[in-house]
């Protein structure tokens, strides 16, 4: 068993990280932090998950979210998709393994992956609305969010959701408020089978190795860790029984990366665009200086008068 984190404090406890630990800030820059925090990570072991949704309940309760009571829609996945009030979701897939012909019920806890290279942050136009701490947590500052939905386009995992009520973007915070006092996220605390564990990223990788060995010994020859390099690795990782095909787990991207379109839009376009517009303005000014104003002459006026008097010319 992974050592449980002691019960939370009830007396004032100083935050263990804060603004001084920012490494990225949307649409703005931050000074490099004095010292880097040890990167943390949440490890989700899909092979241990029983799909009980304790993580969903704990998330709703801890974050005081009010999700609507929906309807049955032909699966155990409820609500059917992430919402501004559901930061996490169990996604159920009934998959028949072509090699063994056995049914495998793949249950993946979906939610923010806390990318090392966060597409949401890159896309965000509002300074400081999305921040990244040196421990890897990517968090939203709702007082700064303008609700444009650019983060949704920036995210390779389709995670952020825009509230139709307050028009702000919402997603898993990795329970930054809990981590700040030395706790793990609410979902990890609740998880009955320790399918979710939380610690430093190195510990999580080490712990995952043990799990993968166990899975291989049980015949899952492609068991492995999901820590996609395309986004610089993530601070939420999966242990998958079939790491060779992540997409069977309710469409987990095989090779996630920030969309090249978003890269182009937020990269070259931004600068070239300004350049072109600037050039146009300057060219105009320059032309005026060289050729001077294009004035109507007295002769022109006379010609016009002659014409209107009917005089031929």
């Amino acid at each position: 068993m992974f050592p449980p984190i002691p019960n939370p404090p009830v007396t004032a406890t100083p935050a263990k990280f804060g603004d001084a630990d920012l490494v990225r800030r949307s649409a703005s820059s931050v000074p490099a932090p004095a010292q880097k925090l040890t990167p943390v990570a949440k490890l989700i072991d899909v092979s241990k998950c029983i799909g009980c949704k304790a993580c969903q309940a704990a998330c709703l309760e801890w974050n005081e979210l009010h999700e609507e009571i929906g309807t049955f829609n032909g699966t155990y996945t409820n609500p059917p998709d992430l919402t501004p009030a559901s930061f996490t979701l169990m996604r159920f897939t009934e998959w028949v393994n072509p090699e063994t012909d056995n049914l495998e019920w793949l249950i993946r806890k979906d939610g923010c992956m806390h990318c090392a290279d966060p597409g949401c942050l890159k896309a965000c136009p509002a300074p400081g609305a999305i921040v990244q701490y040196s421990n890897g947590i990517v968090d939203f500052a709702h007082d700064k969010c303008i609700g444009c939905g650019y983060c949704v386009k920036g995210c390779p995992f389709n995670i952020p959701r825009i509230s139709q009520v307050d028009h702000k973007a919402y997603k898993c915070t990795l329970c930054s408020d809990r981590v700040a006092v030395g706790q793990g996220p609410a979902c990890q605390k609740a998880c009955p089978t320790q399918a979710i564990v939380f610690g430093t990223k190195d510990e999580m990788k080490q712990w995952a190795d043990g799990r993968i060995k166990d899975l291989k010994s049980r015949g899952y020859k492609n068991a492995g860790l999901y820590d996609p390099p395309g986004v610089g690795g993530t601070h939420v990782m999966y242990v998958l029984q079939h790491a060779d095909k992540p997409s069977i787990y309710a469409g987990l991207p095989d090779n996630p990366r920030i969309s090249p379109i978003v890269e182009a839009w937020k990269g070259v376009t931004k600068y070239v665009g300004l350049g072109v517009m600037g050039f146009a303005a300057i060219a105009g000014a320059f032309h005026y200086l060289v050729t001077g104003a294009n004035k109507v002459t007295a002769e022109d006026e006379e010609n016009a008068e002659k014409l209107t008097q009917g005089g031929r010319s």
Binding site: M1, S47, K48, C49, I50, G51, C52, K53, A54, Q56, A57, L60, E61, H66, E67, E68, I69, G70, T71, F72, N73, G74, T75, Y76, N78, P79, E94, V96, N102, L103, E104, W105, I107, P192, T193, Q194, A195, G210, R211, D214, S217, R218
Partner: protein, 812 residues
């Protein structure tokens, strides 16, 4: 549970059959994943549905609901045929060698002495041959053709893998795989644990389902050892406690039983409960029955219970029937033979079978009293909710009083978990509105009755006016006062017979163990098995030291475990005949040459020599029973009986319908679908989803979000056959009622080939009703049959027949 949740981490093989631990007990299931992760244990799931437990299992085998005995008898046959038996254990610790009386036979699904009219057996021949020495005759060599082992061998020989497949629908290869995995655990250093729940109890032969696996566990030597045992995963937070405390028709706290009419006087009563040992030197612990009983009577009536009046024996009611169980209660209600009914934190309109009958019955009461923290359907059975509860209030004369009670978060006291731990808890919040504790309500009722009977007299006032009620505040006794009463105390000094100046026991002191109880009225104990929970040393149930020497999973200093803080019962059996552990890597207790010692409290007299005294001290044999004598109404060996509603006739005994001795009321029988009915061709089963807790979480927003709407589960094959679309509306109906639900077409349910014919399964989750936060929906008991298990009357919720068709949405 014979073991504890935390002990499951010691298992090498976990078999989940007749239950769904991952779904119903996720945090207990943690210890299965722990055994897998740290011991490389394997998990096997046998279930009609591919459940959440199956989702993380190493091996899954499907089975038709209600055929577990055929499967497990088949396993026993496999173990015997392949000699996968832990022989030292079976020979020394079971009654395999006991010789059974002449005249006992088994034929065509029935044992000797069946009376078809009474639907009962004359069980006189179901017993041991008694020798001249007054002890049962045994044959250590197991040569005697009439010894238990040979009778068993013959009894299970018909359950070949081929027959098992024909009855259960489990493909032969899958059955053999499961059997062989179990067989590996016959090695002394390999243990298997059985985790089961309502999937086994909710059948007309539920008790025998469980016996089957218990017998397998004995053959494999897995009872009493770490990582083994028979682990009943109790449903509710204190259902173990309420059973221990005898809140049942025929019980007295501590599994003593109420007298019956046949026991006209105290001596007659005691004579049937003395339990002399059946073999030399055996402890036969029930010999102390009188001490427990008298101490209980003293708790009830104190000074008014005297030797002269047989300790108020006559103040206890005497039963004329085995029990007034819930099914009988509602049958009587429906016959208009009941006037007042109390529901204390219980919602029978949803929880018992055949909702239509229940509603009708409640309507015939004069007064219904509901004590509950939450709104229940029962309290509003008279309210019209369209298709969800059609009722005409004007025509229902029942008066209903609804009393708001506190919930766990607002009260103090102890709960007994499935592993028999009594854990104390403290209140964390103030009750809402005028809500009061159940203790307040019960006290108020009693004090009012007492007062009226004292003033005006009435029918037999004595038991009421003399009931001991010495609490600081009689209006609402504290949890501590009541806990001390359960534990028991010394009423009068007990002097040392050798030295009368010495007090063995001092009046007023809390008792430290039930070993100190006496049958002369000098001690009182509300529930003898709890004695030791609140001693002079304080409240043992509130202990919170979670250290675990030896990393055994026992946690002996955490709370208190009955009996005597023992964590694994029958733990003497974890050692061989010489008192040494079968497996050195899994030590629990051992014989150090002079006494028993170890990590757990030995389940045997500390100085009882290993070879002299058997490990099963509650049994007069001193050993466990592969043959239960006359103790179960439906046979000393388990037999496969079909459910009362079955798609096929019983292949081993075509003439037998259901369990031949299960009690069925006349009108209910008329409401059963025929065997192999064309009208109701599909085998249905009901169950709970992990997001829900029975009908409670209907009132709870978050859980209603996680699984919002009533649905039924069917296979893609059946959906195709019936033209049912996933998430489309269907009507499901049985001979008792009809429900409308969404359909969940899932690969997790597959038709099974039963005796060459495809049998479709319809899964019906429970939870929904007409009050609460969740969407209105139908409860499964609209459909389920009104019949119970032959021994303990648990309703047959797990196997019945329905039909299904696509339909349009409900118009409510």
């Amino acid at each position: 549970m014979t073991n504890s949740w935390t002990d499951i981490k010691n298992a090498d093989l976990v078999v989940i059959m007749g239950g769904n631990a991952a779904e119903a007990h996720p945090c207990g299931f943690k210890w299965v994943t722990e055994a897998k992760a740290t011991r490389g244990a394997k998990l096997v799931v046998v279930d009609p549905r591919f459940t959440r437990s199956a989702a993380v299992a190493d091996y899954y085998a499907p089975i038709r609901q209600g055929t577990d005995i055929a499967f497990l008898n088949g396993v026993m046959n496999y173990l015997i045929q392949n000699d996968k038996i832990q022989w030292d254990y079976v020979k020394a610790f079971t009654n395999a060698s006991f010789v059974v009386k002449e005249g006992f036979t088994y034929q065509d699904g029935l044992f000797t002495g069946y009376d078809e009219q009474k639907r009962d057996y004359n069980r006189s021949t179901w017993d041991y041959e008694m020798g001249p020495d007054g002890y049962a005759v045994v044959d250590e060599t197991l040569q005697n053709p009439r010894c238990v082992w040979n009778l068993l061998k013959q009894h299970v020989s018909v359950y070949t893998p081929e027959l098992v497949e024909r009855i259960t629908g489990t493909p032969k290869d899958k059955f053999l795989k499961v059997a062989s995995m179990m067989a590996e655990c016959s090695a002394p250093n390999k243990t298997m644990t059985s985790m089961y729940a309502l999937g086994w109890t909710q059948h007309s032969k539920g008790s025998q389902n469980i016996r089957c696996m218990a017998m397998i566990q004995l053959m494999l030597g897995n009872i009493g050892v770490r990582g083994g045992g028979m682990n009943a995963l109790r449903g509710h937070s204190n259902i173990q406690g309420l059973t221990d405390l005898g809140l049942m028709s025929n019980l007295i706290p501590g599994y003593l039983t109420l007298p019956t009419e046949r026991e006209a006087d105290f001596n007659a009563y005691m004579s049937t409960r003395g339990f002399k040992p059946l073999r030399p030197n055996q402890m036969s612990y029930w010999q102390n029955y009188k001490k427990f009983f008298v101490s209980f009577q003293k708790t009830m009536w104190g000074p008014a219970a005297t030797a002269e009046n047989n300790f108020a024996y006559d103040w206890l009611p005497k039963l004329d029937v085995p029990a007034y169980d819930v099914l009988r209660a509602f049958e009587l209600m429906d016959q208009g033979k009941m006037n007042i009914y109390f529901c204390q934190g219980f919602n029978p309109l949803q929880a018992f079978p055949n909702k239509a009958k229940l509603a009708r019955a409640l309507g015939k009461l004069k007064l219904l009293v509901v004590m509950d923290p939450l709104e229940t359907e029962t309290a509003r059975f008279w309210e019209n909710h369209g298709i969800y509860n059609e009722a005409n209030p004007a025509s229902i004369q029942t008066e209903v009083i609804q009393l708001p009670t506190t919930c766990f978060a607002e009260d103090e006291g102890s709960l007994v978990n499935s592993g028999r731990w009594l854990q104390w808890h403290w209140p964390g919040g103030s009750p809402p509105g005028e809500a009061k504790t159940d203790v307040f309500i019960m006290s108020q009722i009693h004090l009012r009755l007492k007062e009226m009977y004292r003033k005006d007299g009435g029918a037999v006032p004595e038991p009421i006016v003399n009931l001991t009620w010495n609490y600081k505040d009689p209006n609402e006794p504290t949890a501590e006062e009541l806990a001390k009463e359960m534990n028991g105390s010394v009423l009068t000094d007990v002097l040392d017979p050798n030295d009368p100046t010495k007090k063995v026991l001092e009046a007023g002191k809390q008792l430290a163990s039930f070993g100190l109880l006496r049958d002369d009225g000098s001690t009182a104990a509300g529930c003898w098995i709890y004695t030791g929970c609140f001693t002079e040393a304080g409240n043992m149930m509130a202990r919170r030291d979670n250290s675990d020497p030896g990393d055994t999973g026992a946690y002996s200093k955490w709370s208190f475990s009955w009996p005597a803080n023992r964590r694994i019962i029958y733990n003497r059996a974890s050692c061989n005949l010489d008192g040494q552990p079968w497996d050195d890597t899994r030590k629990l207790i051992w014989w150090d040459g002079a006494k028993w010692t170890g990590f757990d409290v030995p389940d045997i007299a500390p100085t009882a020599k290993p070879r002299d005294v058997g490990p099963f001290i509650m049994n007069p044999e001193g050993v466990s029973r592969l043959f239960t004598r006359g103790m179960m109404r439906d046979g000393p060996f388990p037999v496969h009986y079909e459910p009362f509603e079955s798609p096929v006739a019983n292949l081993i005994a075509p003439k037998v319908r259901g369990n031949p001795v299960a009690r069925v009321f006349k009108d209910d029988f008329a409401q059963f679908a025929d065997t192999g009915s064309k009208e109701f061709p599909y085998a249905a089963t009901s169950y709970r989803l992990t997001e829900h807790f029975h009908y409670w979480t209907k009132t709870n927003h978050v859980n209603s979000v996680l699984q919002p709407e009533f649905f039924v589960e069917i296979s893609p094959e059946l959906a195709k056959e019936k033209g049912i679309a996933n998430a489309g509306w269907v009507r499901v109906w049985s001979k008792r009622g009809s429900v409308i639900a969404k359909a969940y077409v899932t690969k997790r349910i597959r038709p099974l080939m039963v005796d060459g014919k495809a049998t479709h399964i319809v899964g019906i989750p429970i939870h929904w009703g007409f009050v609460g936060a969740a969407k209105k929906g139908f409860p499964a008991n609209v459909l389920t049959p009104f019949v119970g298990d032959a021994n303990i009357e648990t309703p047959e919720y797990k196997a019945f027949l329905v039909n299904i068709e696509p339909t349009t949405g409900p118009v409510a």
